[in-house]
Structures are given as structure tokens and as C-alpha cells.
């Protein structure tokens, strides 16, 4: 499915990637399936998304989890815990 993936703050810097539009097969239909694909890129991608790392997820600009469903056209963002205010 076609997806827009966004990365913010330390994750963006580490991956050297703010945004990408991808065509990705996600058989599980959830965020975990996307993360699995990203980790399979290896190297820094595998490390950055390792379990236990403190990163957060949003789907279509709402906070989400690994179990959240994704469909064609969704905007998925990955970022560290927020620190505004």
C-alpha cells in the first residue's frame, strides 16, 4: 500500500530522513507490520526501531500504537516522546 512516513526530532536526525512516500506490503495491516519492514532495511533502521527503544507513533496525526490499523494513503509518523511546553 502507498503510505507517507514521517520522522521527527532525534529519530529524524539519526535516520537522516524527515519524510518518505513508500509503496509497502503490510500483510498484518498494522503499524507493527510497517516497523517490521523498516527494520528489515538493516543498519541504523534496524537499530532505531529495536524493541525497547522509546519512540512513539501517530497514524493520520493522532497518537497510535503498534497495534493500530493502517490503510492505503495513511500518514504514519515516528518520533521520540514529546518535550514541548
Amino acid at each position: 500500500m502507498k503510505l507517507t512516513l514521517l520522522y521527527f526530532a532525534s529519530l529524524r536526525e539519526r535516520l537522516e530522513c524527515p519524510m518518505e512516500r513508500v509503496e509497502m506490503s503490510v500483510p498484518t495491516g498494522d503499524v507493527a507490520g510497517i516497523v517490521s519492514q523498516l527494520r528489515s532495511r538493516g543498519g541504523i533502521w534496524n537499530e532505531a526501531f529495536a524493541p525497547g527503544r522509546a519512540w512513539r507513533i501517530s497514524v493520520n496525526q493522532r497518537m497510535a500504537t503498534l497495534e493500530s490499523s493502517v490503510v492505503e494513503g495513511d500518514e504514519i509518523a515516528f518520533f521520540p516522546p514529546v518535550t514541548g511546553g
Binding site: F8, S10, Q61, T83, G84, G85
Partner: protein
């Protein structure tokens, strides 16, 4: 006017408060919070701070938090202004101002919005210190502050 704004420019706290009350005769209380860049954080000097955010989601998250506050308390109006970009110590980062008939609601809602904003709105701070630039880490105390509102009954 939108209740929540994200902007690079400095804001005028007096003006924001005046907008909540101007021409109204039913406001009894306005509680306001302003957060500033400090020149010291986690033991290091801070010479500059840069605030990154997630355009689109930020405004949506702030509006959701405002809606939640309106659902919990009897409020008249609410304003959230959050700056992004480069800021120096002494500069204001965020303003939350809440108007209500009575002070209890205004205080509670103002603190609630700040606590939720700190844990749910997609902003990230990067500090420049003598040891180099670093991303500010989230604080467990902020999670605890937000968690208070999960179980607390509204007054």
C-alpha cells in the same frame, strides 16, 4: 479566532489575556500559565533552544486538549499559543490562558492543559549547551503530572 496557535513569533501575554476578557462581563476568573526557556537545564548551561514540531498534528492535538478541558470544566474561553523555532533563555515558549466564571475551574483547566500539552502535543526541544547540542529528554514527572487527571474527578 482559533483557540490554539503555533507560531515562530513572540506573543504578548497581556494581549492574549485581554482577548479572553475584552467586552465580556461574565468572566470572573482568568488563570494563565507561561513557560520560558531557562539558561540552565539538567545541570548544563543552555545558550539557545530550538523547538521542532509536527505541523498539522500539533494544531489537532492542541485542539483535542482544549476540547477535553471544555468537556471537564465549565469554561468560558481558552487560548493556547506555542512557539516553534529558535528561542533564547528568557524567551516565552508557551502560553495557556483559561477564562471561567469562578477560579477553581480556571486553575484546574489551565494546569490540565499544560500537563496534557507536555505529554501529548508533538513538540521537541533541542538545547545548545557548552557540551554540544542535545535533544531534551522527556521527564517521568511530566508523565506523572498528566496521569493525575486520568483518575481525578473534576470539581
Amino acid at each position: 479566532m482559533s483557540r490554539a496557535r503555533v507560531q515562530a513569533e513572540a506573543f504578548d501575554a497581556g494581549l492574549e489575556i485581554a482577548r479572553l476578557t475584552g467586552g465580556r462581563r461574565d468572566v470572573g476568573a482568568v488563570a494563565t500559565f507561561i513557560g520560558y526557556v531557562r539558561d540552565l537545564n539538567e545541570g548544563s548551561g543552555v545558550s539557545r533552544m530550538t523547538l521542532e514540531h509536527y505541523p498539522g498534528m500539533t494544531e489537532r492535538a492542541l485542539e483535542d486538549i482544549c476540547d477535553e478541558a471544555f468537556g471537564r470544566w465549565d469554561l468560558l474561553d481558552l487560548r493556547v499559543v506555542h512557539r516553534v523555532g529558535a528561542l533564547e533563555p528568557g524567551e516565552a515558549i508557551v502560553l495557556v490562558a483559561v477564562s471561567s466564571a469562578h477560579r477553581g475551574e480556571a486553575f484546574a483547566a489551565c494546569e490540565f492543559v499544560m500537563d496534557y500539552l507536555k505529554t501529548r502535543a508533538p513538540f521537541w526541544k533541542k538545547e545548545e549547551t557548552p557540551e554540544g547540542a542535545r535533544w531534551v529528554e522527556s521527564r517521568a514527572s511530566d508523565d506523572d503530572a498528566a496521569a493525575r487527571w486520568e483518575t481525578k474527578k473534576t470539581p
